[in-house]
Amino acid sequence: MDSLYLLIPIALVFCAIAIKLLLWAINNGQYDDLDKEAWRILAEDDPVPPAPAENGGAQQQESKKP
């Protein structure tokens, strides 16, 4: 049980690191917009290519080429 004297301080150090990281992320603005980020994971990165007949289609196809 004496290991507690070592393990608990280690746990506290980890906790301090976690708090430090979290504060860094908050100050960095990563949590400024919680609504959007929660939703973003559901959104597809690439929009569905439109039907070729449509007007804007050509532009969109181009932009997808490397």
């Binding site: 049980m1 507690l4 004297y5 608990i8 746990a11 506290l12 906790c15 976690a18 708090i19 979290l22 504060l23 908050i26 100050n27 949590y31 400024d32 917009d33 919680l34 609504d35 959007k36 929660a38 939703w39 973003r40 559901l42 959104a43 597809e44 929009p47 569905v48 290519p49 439109p50 449509e54 007007n55 804007g56 289609g57 532009q59 969109q60 932009s63």
Partner: protein, 835 residues
């Protein structure tokens, strides 16, 4: 004054023919883009996701078409709220952004970096849900020259990083406008910066409290287990000391606002909810610290941190909802054009509006917004002054008349002499009165704070009594018993009672299309005695629609409307908007616009006229008198032969009568407060069953009326939409803005009805009443629990673990009870769902 080229302006509302009174068969058809009803006879549709989708207006069709053409159809599946109905766009709406290409003007909200790339921040109006951010980001990042585009939903802000050589700034504005959002420069203000700072500070406190709570909770489990199984004093001491360390940090870092607020109010002699909270946290921490140091008694570190965390969480969520909608701060001046044509040295030059001086002559073309208050020196036209009086029919003006900044010149070009700067204008006065009204708004004391004051006094009294009595009975136990009284009276549940219920009600309302902005609005609304409605745009739809066609020749109504549509295509008069959804047939030539009369044009060698009775009779002498129905009639004729009378009106919203009747049944005093001076107000009121009508009021008179009602003890809720309603909205105890409301009106309203369905007014009122009941129940429970538990604790019967469990359970019960507000059980919910 009403109408420049009307045949006859008679009060239209009552005489709607039965066929137009009842909703048309396809009334359920909603615009796929904005969710508003597709007006009868409009057959606009567009293919989205492989199916034709109905559209209510060309504006929506243009936006939806652009979205679909870019392959962003997915937006419609992902969004959680309808879009706003966009303004119909023409070349002038896009030209107005050209001024932002001026480096000096752009410097205010853009930054250029070393590589020549430019970063700009735009404030976007009309973002309704997270899917909008995706749509804007996707469309923007595809523009050539755009490096990165990020939308911050919380602040409705677009941050865009682009190459100014490849892409002018005006193009970005234009592009955003095309998507149906309203862009304007994002000006960093101190209030805005402060709000962002506060948000981060709150989040930091919450995060630290959360992580600390886990640590302390972990040690607490070990300690509780130790209490049951037995634990070596050495280890118990270690765990307590570590808990003390972490809890102290949390109390100092996270719980600080409770202490500072309580102290700030105490200094001025006010007892607020934060005081018992601060007392509970402070004393429980102090007692635990003492127990740790002296090695006796009980520790409550877990309760301390848990309580701190949950309270911070509740407040954080509440603030977030409020900030989200507080940020779209709006300035009336930003609606005015940035550049103006002015006469200098005998030539027309374009000058920035802010550089105009009194006495200079400006040119205001048809369709333009009047930039300054000015006196007409040449030309005649009509100006639409809905900004000031809410009316959609313009006022005729000629040389010598004064035109006001913010109104729209709808007919002919005007030359006018500048009367003064923006600060001296009537529009600026209107905005100032909004600010004044805000400070005048009666503050109803918060229920929680009222309860807090006597609750705190009560607790302190009981604690003192306990201390005195135990001091007589058993002095050695007095300290711990007194402490357990304080801990058990910890007002967790009491402190959570209000924010939990308000947050829950706000989220339920949001799901049904009502955005809650005001902090105390739900509380005020639940006590409302008077419900005041604006007329145009609130009880009516706010734009003219075609109500009746009376053919005079052998042409069918459809052909006549198509012809009218083709003709009106050339006009920017508000009447023309009624024809906007109609696809015109035939090409007209030599279209001539007669101010105050109507349109004249040629087709296949024949001359056609559309407009006032007198104007058309000059061409077709045997034109019969306009029908008796009190609609807004315009005539259509060909040389020598009258073709039709077309009747227009501002349609009453279908649900208006129903909403007013149900409000009256519920015991609310319903009044009509209209800026319109014509007889339409009283007629509309009578048809809807409203007995108290005040019409022809200026914004100041409206405010005076509300002030008077409030002085008589009434709690006033106001429903409005226009800029002219903004001051009265901010003065009323609770206020609603309906969709399509100008930004200024929106930012003043406590509730914004997104779907444009008036049922939301009574539904929100009902929800507010329900919310009040739930808060009452929460308080009853929290107080009842305390009243039962405190005597037991005072007698020394409650062990600390039981006190801790009791406290948590009572808080959970309050939260669970508040969540009932989120259930969709109200019978009228179906109405909102439509929005």
């Amino acid at each position: 004054m009403a109408g420049a080229w009307t045949g006859q302006c008679t009060p239209p509302i009552l005489a709607m023919t039965p066929s137009t009174e009842s909703p048309p068969a396809d009334a359920a058809q909603l615009c796929y883009h904005c969710g508003e009803q597709v007006p009868a006879g409009v057959t606009l549709a567009i293919d989205i996701g492989g199916q034709p989708r109905p559209m209510c207006c060309p504006g929506c069709r243009a936006v939806a078409g652009l979205i679909s053409a870019n392959g962003l159809d997915n937006f419609y599946q992902q969004r959680t709220a309808f879009n706003e109905r966009p303004q119909q766009q023409d070349s002038t709406t896009l030209e107005q952004y050209l001024i932002y290409d001026d480096p000096e003007l752009a410097a205010g909200f853009t930054v250029v970096d070393d590589t020549g790339m430019r970063s700009a921040s735009l404030l976007l109006g009309g973002i309704t849900c997270a899917a909008c951010t995706w749509l804007i980001e996707q469309s923007m990042s595809r523009l050539p020259g755009v490096d990165r585009a990020l939308v911050n939903l919380q602040q409705s802000r677009l941050d865009i990083h682009f190459d100014p050589v490849k892409l002018p700034l005006s193009e970005i504005f234009a592009r955003v406008e095309q998507l149906g959002y309203r862009p304007r420069p994002f000006q960093t203000s101190t209030a805005r910066l402060q709000m962002a700072q506060e948000y981060r500070t709150e989040l930091r406190r919450l995060a630290v409290a959360g992580l600390g709570m886990m640590q302390v909770g972990m040690f607490a489990i070990a300690l509780h287990a130790g209490d049951i199984q037995g634990i070596d004093v050495r280890y118990q001491g270690l765990l307590r000391w570590v808990s003390l360390l972490v809890a102290s940090f949390i109390v100092v870092y996270s719980a600080r606002p409770f202490f500072s607020t309580a102290w700030r109010h105490l200094k001025v002699g006010a007892l607020v909810m934060d005081l018992p909270v601060a007392l509970a946290i402070g004393l429980a921490w102090l007692a635990s610290a003492w127990a740790t140091i002296s090695g006796t008694g009980q520790v409550y570190f877990d309760s301390v941190v848990m309580f701190t965390f949950f309270l911070l969480l509740g407040r954080f969520l509440e603030h977030r909802v409020r900030q989200r909608h507080a940020l779209t701060w709006f300035d009336a001046e930003s609606t005015l054009p940035g550049v103006v044509a002015t006469r200098r040295d005998g030539q027309w030059v374009t000058a920035p509006r802010t550089q105009l001086h009194g006495g200079e002559t400006v040119l205001v073309k048809a369709g333009e917004t009047v930039p300054v208050d000015a006196q007409i020196v040449d030309g005649s036209s009509a100006v639409q002054e809905d900004t000031f009086n809410g009316e959609h029919l313009p006022r005729e003006v000629r040389a010598g008349d004064t035109i006001y900044a913010g109104t729209v010149n709808v007919e002919g070009a005007l030359q006018a002499k500048v009367l003064g700067s923006y600060r001296e204008s009537r529009l600026a006065a209107l905005q100032r009165s909004v600010e004044v009204a805000q400070t005048e708004k009666p503050r109803l004391a918060k229920l929680a704070d009222r309860i807090a004051s006597w609750f705190v006094a009560g607790i302190l009294l009981v604690t003192m009594l306990t201390a005195v009595v135990w001091n007589q009975l058993a002095p050695e136990q007095a300290f711990w018993v007194t402490l357990s009284v304080l801990v058990i009276s910890c007002p967790c549940a009491l402190a959570l009672a209000t924010p939990a219920a308000l947050t829950s009600a706000a989220s339920a309302l949001r799901a049904s299309g009502v955005i809650v902005r005001g902090e105390n609005a739900l509380d005020s609304l639940s006590r409302t005695t008077h419900l005041l409605f604006d007329k145009t745009g609130t009880l009516t739809e706010g734009s003219l629609t075609i109500a009746d066609v009376r053919p005079l020749g052998d042409m069918s109504a459809e052909d006549l409307l198509a012809m009218g549509g083709a003709l009106q295509h050339y006009s920017s008069h508000p009447v023309a908007r009624a024809f906007a959804g109609i696809t015109g047939t035939g090409r007209f030539e030599d279209v001539d616009y007669r101010v105050g009369a109507g349109l004249e044009a040629r087709q296949d060698g024949g001359t056609y006229r559309m407009g006032s009775e007198q104007f058309c009779r000059q061409l077709a002498a045997d034109l019969p008198k306009a029908p008796d129905d009190p609609l807004y009639w315009i005539a259509l004729c060909r040389e020598g032969s009258p073709l039709a009378w077309i009747g227009l009106n501002d349609r009453t919203r279908i649900e208006a009568a129903d909403v007013i009747a149900s409000a009256q049944r519920a015991g609310l005093q319903v009044e009509l407060l209209s800026g319109d001076s014509s007889a339409q107000g009283p007629l509309l009121a009578r048809s809807l069953g409203i007995s108290t009508v005040n019409h022809g009021l200026t914004p100041q008179q409206k405010m005076a009326h509300v002030r008077q009602l409030q002085a008589e003890g009434a709690v006033v809720a106001m429903v409005g939409d226009g800029l002219n309603d903004a001051p009265v909205l901010s003065l009323a105890d609770a206020s609603f803005a309906v969709t399509g409301a100008t930004d200024l009106a929106r930012t003043q309203a406590d509730f914004v009805i997104v779907g444009g369905d008036l049922h939301a007014v009574t539904d929100t009122w009902r929800k507010a009443r329900q919310c009040r009941r739930i808060i009452g129940q929460n308080f009853a429970w929290a107080l009842g629990y305390n009243i039962c538990a405190i005597p037991l604790a005072a007698m020394g019967y409650i062990p600390p673990w039981a006190a801790a469990i009791g406290m948590s359970l009572s808080s959970l019960l309050v939260v669970a009870n508040s969540l009932r507000l989120n259930r969709k059980s109200s019978p009228s919910q179906g109405h909102i769902g439509r929005g």
